[in-house]
């Protein structure tokens, strides 16, 4: 199966079903920090849970408080298993770095052209390696 490489923003390993969002997302105001569901009624994926997914988004936008939401998701255990960003974003990555400093389990964040993921169907099980390689998990 396909294999794509991303630039490692936060190193780590994780896997889960692919959730590809076509619209950018602001974690603050856009994601519930406890449940991990998309909370912005104007977002096309309103109500979808990002918890445990390999979340692919074109970019993270909006408030600088998004790193705090990332930290809370890690603390609550409702964070994505990995995040693939079309544009590098220091704000989300920082939430993971701080979480690791506080002893929470971290997640990998990669920068990659998310268009390259179109070969993977929505919901397919993906695995992200510490080196930033995304592969379809063998079933």
């Amino acid at each position: 199966m396909g294999l794509v490489a991303g630039r490692v923003l936060v190193a780590g390993e994780g896997g889960g079903p692919l959730l590809r969002l076509d619209e950018p997302i602001s974690f603050w105001g856009g994601v519930d920090p406890v449940s991990g569901t998309i909370a912005d009624p104007r977002h096309a994926n309103f109500g979808t849970s990002i918890a445990g997914t390999v979340l692919a988004v074109p970019s993270a936008v909006g408030s600088s408080s998004s790193s705090a939401i990332m930290l809370e998701l890690l603390r609550e255990g409702t964070a994505p298993a990995a995040i693939l960003l079309g544009h590098a974003d220091a704000i989300l990555s920082l939430g993971v770095i701080v979480g690791e400093e506080l002893g929470y389990a971290g997640i990998p964040i990669l920068e990659m052209p998310v268009g390259e993921l179109v070969s993977f169907p929505q919901g397919v099980q993906l695995h992200v390696s510490p080196e930033g390689i995304v592969t379809q998990a063998s079933s």
Partner: protein, 420 residues
């Protein structure tokens, strides 16, 4: 690029200034490597956006630093918290959340930051000079300090701004560097009717469009009046930073790095030019309301970013001698409230039925009546975040429309101002 640290910076990691500063430096170094900075830059001030309680992780972070003896190394103001400390009964929150929110705010004050609790520190005297290196959090404050004041910050998240404040350093990258501050997109507003451009209600709509259309590119807006006010630029930037990752925009003839279009683009040919049309503005205007026109209004909220003295004086003129029929909240800094009390305006506002909220705002803290309904606002940022954060439908309008609607208890609008 490899990050090079000075001997002093390396000593911080080694704990020369204590455990908290060492932790702050470790996080700062990780962040600097993440963005590919070659070195750190000394900063003159910081604005920390970490006081707002999103959950207990933020409290744990702040207390880890405060308990570790952390002290800010530069002048530092604090963003809003999740409580109105001067009027605690106005916030509906459980005992646990209230206690944790308080602990989070206290931890930053223990580290020596000023208890300003405002998202608009630039309105209470935190005014860096043009070209000054700073580290600010809070998206509207970032847009303002870069664009309107001409100081230099990147978009710092809740935690990195605190790490910068404790170490007095920031990663030297992005908008800290002169070459990255050039406009690459020209937005031509010269065809927008001047009557519309003279109105405050235009600027959040322009900002909403800018954030969606231009995003992380840097725009030079031409054709705005030389008399465009700081409050209008504040509203533009706040809306733009809500719908897009806008951290810097230039307004030719108005903002400090844009005396001319050539200055704003650093003499380079812009990548593209977009002429604003009536359709573009109508689309952004429509996006700011989720409730229908002409229906009921259950509450009004203004002051995102926090209301300035000038905006309050405008509000005083509008509400004097009138009685508001629905709850009307005006959010501001405690320092601004003090000035309002001294000049007698706070009394006039309260008599009309305006509730003045300080240290926080109604979109980040449960203050609005729990019954829900339609929230009217003149703020692009409230309109953007209101539905997801409060559960209210939102209706966007001018401050005049907000007051008229609050008096009538139903939505009144002035569509004629948008005639083009």
């Amino acid at each position: 690029m490899t990050l090079e640290l000075t001997d002093y910076e390396r000593s911080l990691i080694g704990g020369s200034q204590g455990d908290a500063t060492a932790m702050a430096m470790r996080i700062l170094v990780s962040a600097a490597e993440l963005v590919g900075a070659g070195e750190l830059v000394e900063i003159r001030s910081a604005h920390i956006d970490g006081c707002l309680h999103h959950g207990d992780g933020g409290v744990e972070f702040a207390e880890r630093l405060a308990d570790g003896g952390g002290r800010v190394a530069v002048d530092t103001t604090l963003n809003v918290g999740a409580l109105d400390l001067l009027h605690p009964d106005k916030v509906r929150a459980g005992a646990h959340k209230t206690a944790m929110a308080r602990r989070q705010m206290d931890a930053y004050v223990r580290m020596g930051a000023e208890p300003t609790f405002t998202c608009a520190p630039y309105q209470i005297g935190h005014l860096p000079d043009v070209g000054e290196q700073v580290a600010w959090g809070e998206s509207n404050a970032i847009a303002f300090v870069n664009s309107v004041l001409g100081a230099r910050t990147e978009r710092y998240g809740d935690f990195l701004d605190a790490c910068c404040a404790l170490t007095g350093r920031a990663p030297l990258h992005g908008l800290h560097l002169e070459e990255n501050r050039a406009a690459t997109v020209v937005v031509d507003a010269s065809h927008v009717p001047s009557e519309l451009k003279a109105r405050d209600v235009f600027y959040p709509v322009l900002g909403t469009w800018l954030g969606l259309e231009v995003g992380r590119d840097i725009a030079a807006i031409v054709g705005l009046p030389a008399a465009t006010t700081r409050d209008q630029l504040k509203a533009l930037g706040a809306a733009a930073a809500s719908t897009g990752a806008v951290a810097l925009f230039h307004v030719v003839g108005v903002t400090p790095e844009a005396a001319t279009l050539d200055a704003a683009t650093h003499g380079q040919v812009p990548g593209r030019t977009v002429a604003l049309t009536a359709e573009m503005l109508r689309g952004s205007l429509a996006r700011l309301s989720t409730a229908g026109q002409g229906g009921r209004v259950d509450a009004v909220a203004v002051g995102s970013p926090h209301f300035s003295i000038g905006e309050f004086e405008h509000l005083v003129r509008l509400v004097s001698g009138r009685r508001l029929a629905v709850p009307f909240y005006a959010c501001t800094a405690r320092g601004t409230l003090l000035a309002l009390e001294e000049q007698g305006d706070a009394e006039v506002l309260r008599e009309a039925g305006v509730e003045i909220i300080v240290d926080t705002c109604v979109v980040v803290t449960p203050i609005l009546p729990a019954s829900g309904g339609v929230l009217m606002t003149n703020s692009g940022k409230f309109a953007h975040y209101g539905p997801s954060n409060t559960g209210y439908e939102v209706l966007y309008g001018s401050l005049e429309d907000c007051v008229d609607s609050a008096v009538a208890g139903r939505a009144l609008s002035s569509p004629e101002v948008w005639a083009w």
